[in-house]
Subunit: 438 residues, 3 copies
């Protein structure tokens, strides 16, 4: 039995987050590593990772130290699941479980699949029970509850069942499945799904098992916050022995503090929160409400990080970072603020491609790619996206998205005049009042 | 003996504070309730409240739970004191004390009046001894010190005495007084005062008693700070048993903390101060110097509130609120600042109607009506007034008043260029330095 | 033996710092006092201070209370060292040591000079051994290592030796030396240096002793930070008995806290740092990294001062002051920030006269003269100079130098519209969430 992870796709809707979704790090591990751990818990020992030319090297570097039984296939172009599996043909034989690593789910998903295959099915598919419309594939079942096919995005009201297709799919005979995949010709990237329908029609026994545990599919950047919450909720709190925490700091609730973290006097961390290894939480900083901070970050004096996901190697300084997603190696000027709430109290909308997507979130801050910088006293409005390697200048009020590799600055109109003020020195008096505490 | 409270007037000079002055809440009670308590302390048990159509319902709602012996009269239009009393005629008989609830004074004021009436006067008026000019009504007395009349705003140097008229007036026979009021015809709203003069001339015995206790008449919005100070000075400190105070918070001096308040770690409250019920004082917040915060407020992380009056249901977040008056349900974006001191160190001027009034105050911040919002990094200059339901956008430097129901935003001129910076990565080095504490 | 301090010059490159360099105060004493103390440690008891008309009075006022054996000469115009000494002729006889008080060095410099003169030299000069080019005077020595002359700014690669001339110069016979000085005519201000060469050629015995201890010549304003570091490194930590330190404050490392200082709750001072007498370090303030704060300063709530030199009588309020030099009596509006790091991570450049000087510093903030003010939310960019008595308005992003006696304000383009937002009140819900800690 091999688990086959489909890592060859490209998440276009994740801009400005350029990292592959499954390579985002939660609690110090990539999502892919978490997925592999889940599979291992279910008893799976052999892995096939189908990479693309851009991530192959990086994935190998991450997985190599784990000493897994893992093989790597290469999908040269992102042409869908069927293409991916066909590209991995040489590694696939007998039983396989095909997994989309951008779907986050619990070990019970594997367990249900593995239990069901004992009944001698040719394939077992995972169906997540929904009670409201989800824009994905729905299972079509016949009168006896047998699998018939998959309806992609049927539209609300037209759902053929209440079971959404999650790609945790068992196939009894990989070679046979691949030969089916090769037979089908389609102009869309739905060969995989259609093939399942064809196989069912041909008399193959394909079962759908219902899954009711946690499931979340990362589609948009703000979904990262949801995944961070999931991992934070799952884990126990822990403070590494190598972390140095000032006795004047406050650590409250479930907080995960990794190796070599330093927490300075007056800092407050209210869990659930994660502080990655070698990061510094500075004097009087507040980190709270499902904030997830990566490695080698410096959260400088008087910064608040609330319900935000911060990558590695970011620097903050007297900022407010609320409900934001900040990728790696970003540098914030002192007193840059992310706004996270609209004046009209409506849910925050975000541009994705050429669409304006309603996130459904009351509160959402900035979404910032790798290697960005902001100037002092900059203001970033709710749901604004900033492309990698861009700079938001001091004093800018940014209420539109900023492309990658750009700098934006504000051209102020100055008025310079002679200073004609004659002071009647009151400072001394003020000082006296202050010394009296008034 | 009934105390008659004149609550039918409208305080035009209080804009943008729309609440009736006597309905402003100090230490959790409306000023009117405080006034009634003062009267009760002096032995008065029956009350007549003369409302107007706009405040009748609200006043009744406030006073109902107090289970007082109270009757309500309605003054349909704000046509002055005489009109008010004539409108309340049906409730008035025998001895009354007419009180302007916007004048704040001590119980001794009542006691002096009540003592004096024993000498058989038709009326006893309260005279506040001033040593500098006050723009109000002055008592005119004859050679024997008997009341002759009232000179309204005589102008500095023309004061007929050093006694200013405070409307805490005893009348022995309400019906008779009302019949006098009805007789006099005037185009101004001075019928009440003139009637007293007429009555004196007619041989009625009208006495003026001198009062030297606390007295303050709320006329302009910034006077609210003075009244807050009065109540804070009067009261003992207390912390409700239902309040939750972090052991890492500092509470110093005379602080009144009401029910269900939460004070977070690192917060500092330096009395005299009041924190209304259900309010939250967040992490690292500083509240000090006669600040008076209402109910259900959230003073978020790293905010300073200094010598300010804050209504109910306000939200702050990393703000500086200094010497400001903020009405109910205002919402401040992170790092909005109120300036409270002029560059030229002169006293702060405020627009009232079409006049520019010198407040005489070195320090005065913003004056903000109900339901306002500010954006992140907004700046509000000293003495600026913001009308109810208005919004000051992010990054705005507001140095003029803003009308009600408006939004003001700044149109920045941006310069967007390609980011051509080639980094020689110094971050790692910086990190090392920081870890060494440099 | 008299030490002769040349205090008549004017440091043009120090703008906007108008104080004479040797009158800048470190650890509560002027640099001149420190220099005199160093001389006293070396056994010198008699002093001649050569002033100019602008500083004579002030220097006398400072030195008078010290009860030194000191005489004052007046150099009417800043015409160089020879002119200075000739002007002080009446006070000079026998052995003298001529000292430039803008050079900071250790007592061993005097000791080396004093030791060497015992060998019967006519003059002993101090040579600082450098291993990279310094833009100053280099000693020219003959084959036997005997002094021949001084080469002013020879240019890199043309240095006649590795010994730079520091003006700590012994002369055996002042009168004789002065007669030499008077003989030489030069159009430049190099009479002093040339005279030494002439004397050597005439057979006078002039020795150069090599000095390897600490030496720093203040030339540009940012050099003040270097001198502050020197004094802070030299001194032990101490906290005056009259200082009041909140038990909730953190004092860490070598910190010098002078008389009557107050440190409020939540404040953190991480040495090496100096807090001058009567200064106030407010609630939640952070002072660290070789910050040197003068007397009568108020560092208000939530301010960070990092690696900065602050004169006397300055006021801060929720600011970030990093790597900055702030002269006396400056007043910062709330949330003014000094940027100290360039987006391109290059070293900071500063305008000096009509040149652009590379400071060689990765981090440098603002350089501000006496009596300046800033408005709320103002932003000052790295290396920007602000002339004395100037004002930076609220919201200004200052990326150019500002002359003396100016005000700069930003003219924002406003957009005022009707507020048409209809709220579906979510505040209550938000409040509930917050009370649950979410």
């Amino acid at each position: 039995m091999k688990a086959v992870f489909l890592c060859g796709g490209i998440g276009k809707r994740m801009h400005p987050i350029t990292e592959d979704k499954f390579m985002l790090k939660f609690l110090g591990k990539t999502l892919l590593e978490h997925q592999i751990e889940t599979a291992i818990k279910a008893g799976i020992k052999d892995f096939v990772i189908i990479c693309n030319p851009f991530n192959e090297e990086k994935i190998k570097n991450y997985l190599h130290p784990l000493k897994l039984k893992v093989e790597f296939a290469l999908q040269k172009e992102p042409k869908g699941m069927a293409d991916a599996i066909i590209n991995a043909e040489e590694f696939l034989d007998g039983e396989i479980i095909v997994v989309n690593p951008n779907d986050v789910f619990e070990v019970t998903a594997y367990e249900k699949i593995l239990d069901s295959r004992r009944s001698g099915c040719d394939a077992v598919l995972l169906g997540f029970k929904v009670d409201s419309y989800f824009s994905g594939g729905y299972f079509k079942l016949d009168g006896k509850g047998e699998f018939v096919g998959i309806a992609e995005k049927p539209g609300e009201g037209n759902e053929p069942s209440d079971l959404v297709n999650i790609v945790v799919h068992y196939h009894k005979d990989a070679k046979k499945f691949i030969s089916h995949l090769k037979k089908l010709v389609s102009e869309n990237d739905d060969v995989y799904e259609k093939t399942l329908g064809v196989m069912a029609a041909d008399g193959n026994k394909i079962k759908v098992v219902t899954y009711t545990g946690y499931w979340f599919a990362i589609k948009y950047p703000w979904h990262i916050l949801e995944i961070a919450k999931y991992f934070l909720d799952k884990e126990y709190g822990r403070i590494s022995k190598t972390a140095k925490i000032s006795p004047r700091a406050t650590i409250e609730g479930k907080v995960i503090i990794e190796d070599n973290v330093r927490v300075f006097e007056g800092a407050t961390i209210k869990g659930p929160c994660h502080i990655g290894k070698n990061s510094v939480i500075g004097t009087d900083v507040l980190v709270w409400n499902y904030s997830h901070i990566g490695d080698y970050c410096v959260v400088g004096y008087s910064t608040e990080v609330k319900h935000s996901f911060i990558g590695d190697n970011c620097w903050f300084h007297s900022n407010y970072i609320g409900d934001s997603i900040i990728a790696n190696s970003c540098f914030f000027g002192a007193k840059t603020v992310t706004a996270n709430y609209r004046f009209d109290e409506k849910t925050v909308k975000v541009n994705v491609g050429d669409k304006r997507i309603d996130t459904g979130l009351d509160k959402l801050g900035a979404i910032m790619g790798d290697d960005c910088k902001t100037g002092i006293n900059a203001s970033i409005m709710p749901g604004v996206k900033i492309g990698p390697n861009s700079i938001v200048g001091p004093g800018v009020v940014l209420d539109k998205d900023l492309e990658s590799n750009k700098t934006i600055s504000v051209e102020q109109q100055y008025l310079i005049k002679d200073n004609t003020i004659k002071y009647t020195s009151k400072k001394e008096e003020l000082m006296k009042r202050l010394l009296k505490g008034k």
